[in-house]
């Protein structure tokens, strides 16, 4: 058998396994979200289908698929059906570049646990890791906009249209800070390959969350906005826009929107893990444990997403845009500039210097924003009775 066939077979198996794992993350994530939110809200959550209600998402999915697939009379007959796929496909493809484990060696062949990863066969057969891994991932995430804007447009419904426009504008705006925030770790790793970024973190002996804390915060914020999660879940703010761009969708097409959202959330979390939490590495270098470490770190972020959703109200559209363009992007650029300068002039002590500067930067940003809020709340500082009778602890905090 020629080496190329073995190579393709191995990649095929890996792809199927990773896709399967990723797709199982979706129902699991839905279950986790419902359980955690229920816990936050003093409820029980799903507990009827399967142990701990674990099979509830599957029951829900089945129910959704069984439903009638409705196309509104005035909808665009070509675009309306394919819009969910346009959202779903990039969400799936983005998985390909994320490494969930290091180099595995079987006999004379060794490869990384990454669909578009490195492969070494016998007789010098060598396929390198995709060069522009992270660029591809970002490019794919920007393709998701099409699904949203076209779904909104083709539904022939003003709420859908407004939701679609909002969502696409939001996704476009937050792509910039999202990308720029990742450049810091990339500079530190001096490579666009995700595996290199993970290795660089173990070489430095420190996770990039420490020297790139500002980048991490911006990435988290932009990532949340990019995948339309609370508190940035405006496109689907059901209190305002009913369901946003997917108002008219039903059955499996609706399920696809749902799945794409959760897939994107998992992907963003995976990127955060790779770039800021040392990827699949933890304690030991035993290869077969690495996917587990990766999964554990992933859970951390997924929990964070749910936690945020359970606690915060939703921001308004213009405020969201202002946050993206006036706060996140400048901050990300400043962070990038500082990182570049430090790496150019004090490469030996880069980590230490960057840690200090990121602490300084985040402090400034924190006080800046609280000053901003205080200035806008100054009006009520003079306010009447209700204000004066706040519980003491609240008074002092404003």
């Amino acid at each position: 058998m020629p080496e190329i066939v073995i190579f393709l077979l191995i990649k095929l198996v890996m792809t199927i396994v990773i896709f399967a794992l990723w797709m199982t993350m979706v129902p699991f994530m839905i279950w986790l979200e419902r359980k955690v939110i229920a816990d936050i809200q003093i409820r029980i959550g799903p507990n009827r289908v399967g142990p701990f209600g674990l099979l509830q998402p599957i029951a829900d999915a089945l129910k959704l698929i069984m439903k009638e697939d409705i196309t509104p009379a005035k909808a665009d007959k070509l675009i309306y059906p394919i819009a969910p796929a346009l959202l779903m496909v990039p969400a799936l493809l983005a998985i390909a570049v994320i490494p969930i484990g290091g180099m595995v060696t079987i006999g004379e062949r060794s490869f990384t646990l990454q669909i578009m990863g490195e492969y070494r066969g016998p007789n010098g057969f060598f396929v390198p890791e995709l060069d522009a891994g992270i660029l591809l991932s970002l490019a794919l995430s920007s393709l998701g906009v099409y699904g949203v804007v076209l779904a909104g447009w083709s539904s022939a419904n003003k709420y859908s249209l407004l939701g679609g426009m909002r969502s696409s504008a939001q996704m476009l705006s937050y792509e910039l800070p999202l990308g720029v925030a990742l450049v810091g770790p990339l500079l530190l790793a001096s490579s666009l390959r995700l595996n290199e970024v993970v290795n660089a973190q173990s070489n430095f002996g420190i996770w990039f969350i420490i020297p790139q804390f500002v980048g991490f915060i911006i990435f988290l914020m932009s990532g949340t906005a990019e995948v339309n999660r609370a508190p940035f879940d405006l496109p689907e703010a059901e209190q305002e826009l009913i369901g946003g761009y997917h108002t008219e969708y039903s059955s499996f097409r609706f399920a696809m929107f749902f799945m794409a959202e959760y897939l994107n959330m998992v992907t963003i979390s995976a990127l955060a893990v790779t770039f800021f939490l040392g990827g699949y590495r933890l304690f030991t270098d035993i290869v077969w444990l690495q996917p587990i470490w990766f999964a554990l770190k992933l859970m951390l972020f997924l929990y964070l997403f749910v936690w945020i959703r359970g606690t915060w109200p939703r921001v308004r559209y213009d405020q969201l845009m202002a946050l993206g363009w006036k706060v996140s992007l400048p901050l990300a650029l400043v962070n990038l500039a500082i990182t570049a300068i430090v790496l150019a002039y004090v490469p030996k002590r880069a980590v230490l210097v960057l840690t200090i500067t990121s602490i300084v930067l985040i402090t400034i940003a924190y006080y800046g924003s609280s000053y901003n809020i205080r200035r806008s709340t100054d009006m009520t500082a003079r306010s009447g009775y209700a204000r004066r009778h706040l519980p003491e602890s609240e008074e002092t905090r404003i």
Partner: protein, 173 residues
């Protein structure tokens, strides 16, 4: 032409690109045209990948597919759906448009033919394998020999942006 994986991939992607491009100019619905424009650009990105220019491909996706076409979609949706203005897909100036199209085609065709006459087989030509890290090469190119055009381009973009803001502002008052 022998059947290799490379050729099959090239023909498939090229076919997709060209077909979508034909749809872009022939479909009556302008929004669908925009959608096919996206497929065209994705096809072009695919061709870049085949030419071992992965970074260029990623850039193509990011900029042309992720930003420019979306902007076009935005403009269409905003004007057509929200403002109620009709945008026709066909041009009223068929003669002028035809002349322009033929001129562009003639230019490309002559370039193509002149290359063939030199004897180089463009389709069969294997892509150049870069000797060092392509990213590093691009970066060095941008910083050293092409720094002036690069900065000039960004300056023009800045001017365009400021101009756009000014126009939008004036419109409001």
């Amino acid at each position: 032409m022998e059947i290799t994986g490379y050729n099959v991939a090239f023909i498939a992607i090229a076919a997709m690109t060209v077909t979508s491009a034909i749809f872009v100019v022939t479909l009556p619905n302008i929004l669908r045209s925009a959608l096919f424009l996206m497929f065209t650009f994705i096809g072009v990105a695919g061709l870049y990948v085949l030419a071992n220019a992965e970074i260029l491909a990623a850039m193509q996706l990011l900029i042309y597919v992720g930003a420019i076409t979306v902007l076009i979609l935005f403009a269409i949706v905003l004007t057509q759906q929200l403002m109620g203005a009709r945008i026709t897909q066909t041009s009223r100036n068929i003669v002028l448009g035809g002349v322009a199209a033929i001129a562009v085609f003639a230019f490309i065709a002559t370039t193509f033919v002149s290359h063939f006459s030199k004897g180089s087989d463009m389709i069969a030509a294997q892509p150049a394998v870069p000797t060092s890290d392509p990213l590093l090469m691009i970066a060095k190119m941008l910083i050293q020999p092409y720094v002036l055009p690069f900065e000039l381009a960004s300056f023009i973009l800045l001017v365009a942006m400021v101009g756009a803001i000014v126009i939008a502002k004036e419109d409001k008052d």
